[in-house]
């Protein structure tokens, strides 16, 4: 397999993991919103309520930075990283 094809395969793998985590925080937990809201979440807020106010939103921020770092590592591994600033 060419270097390019391997790079794309790894990138696609990372995409699937990223989308899986995204699915949990954007859709998964809200399938059980009513049940989970009975539980007390961080800082004492009802759990589902907390996810809609802060939890999911914060998770997305962290997820994007994590994804960007992982993708950079993959790019470096195959010598596709760009020189210069960010």
């Amino acid at each position: 397999m060419s270097k390019q094809a391997q790079h794309w395969e790894k990138s696609r793998g990372l995409l699937l993991v990223t989308l899986a985590i995204w699915f949990v925080f954007s859709i998964g937990i809200f399938l059980f919103g009513a049940e989970m809201n009975e539980v007390t979440g961080p800082f004492g807020y009802p759990l589902t309520y907390w996810f809609t106010c802060q939890g999911s939103l914060g998770a997305f921020v962290i997820l994007i930075f994590w994804f960007a770092n992982r993708q950079e590592k993959i790019d470096e591994e195959f010598g596709f990283s760009e020189r210069g600033d960010d």
């Binding site: 390019q4 800082f43 309520y49 921020v61």
Partner: protein, 603 residues
């Protein structure tokens, strides 16, 4: 200052932020010395708009890549701020806390949707479109799939979605300008429009970028300062985001105590249009999983298809920077979005808790009607009380408020000085202006670059192209303002429609353009045309009394539109021949972050 402008950015915006804070302090001293509320409001709006206009003038340019993509040298963090301002509209700033206040959990799907969409932007699209090197979103569609028809359809979808959105933003600038400057709305709309054009006309994307950073700083200070101040003043907690659990459960307690009494249709006729009472639980789950998820999903896919956001990532220096920049954008958006529920909580509790001095529920109607701020906001048509049951006391179901009042009136209710209200007006103006700028520029650039330059006159000189771009900017701005002046729809409804239109026509043609090599021109044309037509058709059907299906409402019609788009794109692509070798090679190159972009620096 030594060095070039880009190296000095932190210093420039540091000084700017310091200057703005100093201006707030000067204004509050002036208030103490007896400056009237009206003068303070005018000063805030005029001062900030003047600064944006100066930045817009200093950013003027005669080069195509500076005009279309700010010379592709906007650093990650600053592009994040600009995107956040581009993104957070008058609706986010003025209406979001109100939506949460009235509708609770069901509405908060928008918070999840408007942030989760950025994960799709970062992972599916932004870095690849940056590598492509396009000036506009239709530029990508036109080059990837080839042919004028595909390019033209992308312009059509972009224009439908962005124009729906921009009238709402011009409407919001008009509302704020008319309140702050005390002029009639019909004129205020054009004052707003001129302010918007001052930022973008001379410098294009470069001017918009640097004004949007300045506007972000104003809007985030204007949103966070009152939230923290009110929280501390009420004794609710020093850092409201982590400390309002008691307040949230207190609201639930009061809701149980008062109960949600349903008003008769006859009584509701008395209530002025646009005002609502508290009828839904604050923190309990009050929507079905599908109602919540479908709205969130529509907003997420719409986020990834809205061209004015996507084109911000064309301005970063590299593909790597585009990815990081999405993260920063969402971080800056998070700062405001996570504060909106806190503001809604503080606002609601201060109004309904009888044990607080600001609480009005349980007081006599006459007493409430004598309160200064009630009279002010009643006159502005944003508050209303009526003694439906005739017992002389104000009940929960007898108090009505406009959505905007949560942001606009809470500082006054909590007893903050007027300078804060002036600040909030400046913030709302910044939010609406920055989004309107991004949208008008997206439409004008698509028409000038993709329709005029690429389709009508490919030999046009740069100077002529930029004249056409600027003329279009003014024409589209005036068209938007004229429609806004007619006041057809509310701010929030039309914003949500814009997301649905964008996802119906553009989501799958964009995503599959990168991720599915087999996608071809015929498929993309079918996807865009049928997606947009079926989405719009569904909206019209539901609006004219259709019952809809699968719980898809007029707010989520994009789910149906994008489904049709996906199916038709895949079926038509597979029925026709695969893309030629050159196109397939182009897709391979897009997937590699390093190396030259597909389209040249100047094209």
């Amino acid at each position: 200052m030594k060095g070039n402008f880009i190296d000095n950015l932190p210093k420039v915006y540091g000084i700017y932020t310091g200057g703005f804070l100093a201006f707030i302090i000067i204004m509050s001293i002036a208030e103490q010395m007896g400056m009237t509320a009206k003068t303070i409001g005018i000063c805030f709006v005029a001062f900030t708009v003047a600064i944006y206009a100066i930045i817009g003038y200093l950013s003027r340019t005669a080069q195509a890549d500076a005009y279309y993509v700010a010379g592709r040298q906007v650093p990650t963090v600053f592009n994040g701020m600009a995107t956040a301002a581009d993104w957070m509209s008058g609706a986010s700033f003025v209406a979001m806390a109100g939506g949460i206040y009235f509708k609770g959990y069901g509405y908060m799907a928008l918070l999840v949707g408007w942030t989760g969409g950025y994960v799709l932007v970062a992972s599916l699209l932004a870095p690849y479109l940056r590598k492509f090197g396009c000036y506009t979103v239709p530029d990508f569609i036109g080059t990837r799939y080839g042919g004028n028809l595909s390019r033209f359809l992308a312009v059509v979808v972009l224009t439908v979605a962005s124009f729906t959105y921009v009238t709402a933003q011009i409407n919001a600038t008009g509302t704020i300008a008319s309140v702050a400057l005390d002029i009639p709305f019909q004129y205020a709309v054009y004052v707003g429009l001129v302010s918007i054009l001052l930022c973008s006309m001379l410098g294009g994307m470069r001017g918009v970028t640097w004004t949007q950073v300045a506007q972000y700083i104003v809007l985030i200070i204007a949103y966070l300062l009152p939230v923290f101040w009110i929280s501390n003043k009420m004794g609710a907690g020093f850092f409201p985001h982590f400390m309002l659990a008691d307040e949230v459960s207190r609201i639930a307690e009061l809701e149980a105590q008062f109960g949600f009494v349903k008003n008769s249709a006859e009584n509701l006729k008395e209530v002025p249009k646009g005002l609502a009472g508290i009828t839904k639980a604050h923190s309990a789950v009050n929507a079905t999983p599908w109602a919540f998820i479908s709205l969130a999903l529509a907003m997420m896919m719409g986020t990834a298809s809205l061209p004015h956001v996507m084109m911000r990532y064309f301005t970063t220096p590299s593909v790597k920077a585009a990815r990081k920049s999405v993260g920063w954008s969402l971080f800056f958006i998070f700062l405001l979005y996570s504060s909106a529920p806190m503001l809604a909580t503080l606002s609601k509790l201060s109004l309904i808790d009888p044990t607080l001095s600001t609480g009005i529920i349980g007081k006599s109607i006459a007493e409430v009607q004598a309160i200064d701020w009630y009279q002010n906001w009643n006159q502005a048509n944003l508050m209303f009380v009526s003694d439906f049951n005739g017992n002389g006391t104000l009940e929960l179901n007898e108090f009505f408020m406009g959505g905007k009042a949560v942001v606009l009136a809470t500082p006054e209710i909590a007893g903050l000085p007027y300078v804060i209200s002036g600040l909030v007006a400046a913030g709302g103006m910044a939010a609406a202006m920055s989004t309107a700028d991004g949208l008008i520029l997206a439409i004008a650039n698509a028409i000038s670059h993709d329709v005029y330059y690429k389709i009508i006159d490919p030999k046009a000189e740069t100077a002529k192209r930029l004249v056409v771009a600027r003329v279009l900017l003014v024409v589209i701005g005036f068209a938007g303002a004229t429609i806004a002046a007619m006041e057809i729809q509310g701010i929030l409804g039309s914003v949500i429609w814009a997301f649905d239109f964008a996802m119906s026509g553009l989501f799958f043609p964009l995503v599959l353009g990168v991720w599915w090599k087999r996608a071809n021109r015929e498929g993309a044309i079918a996807g865009m045309a049928l997606g947009l037509i079926s989405g719009a058709g569904y909206l019209i059907w539901v609006r004219t009394g259709g019952s809809g299906f699968l719980g898809i409402t007029q707010l989520t019609f994009g789910i149906f539109g994008s489904f049709v788009s996906l199916v038709s794109m895949v079926v038509v692509s597979l029925m026709t021949s695969e893309p030629n070798a050159a196109t397939q090679k182009m897709v391979d190159e897009v997937r590699v972050p390093s190396g030259k972009s597909i389209l040249g620096k100047q094209h």
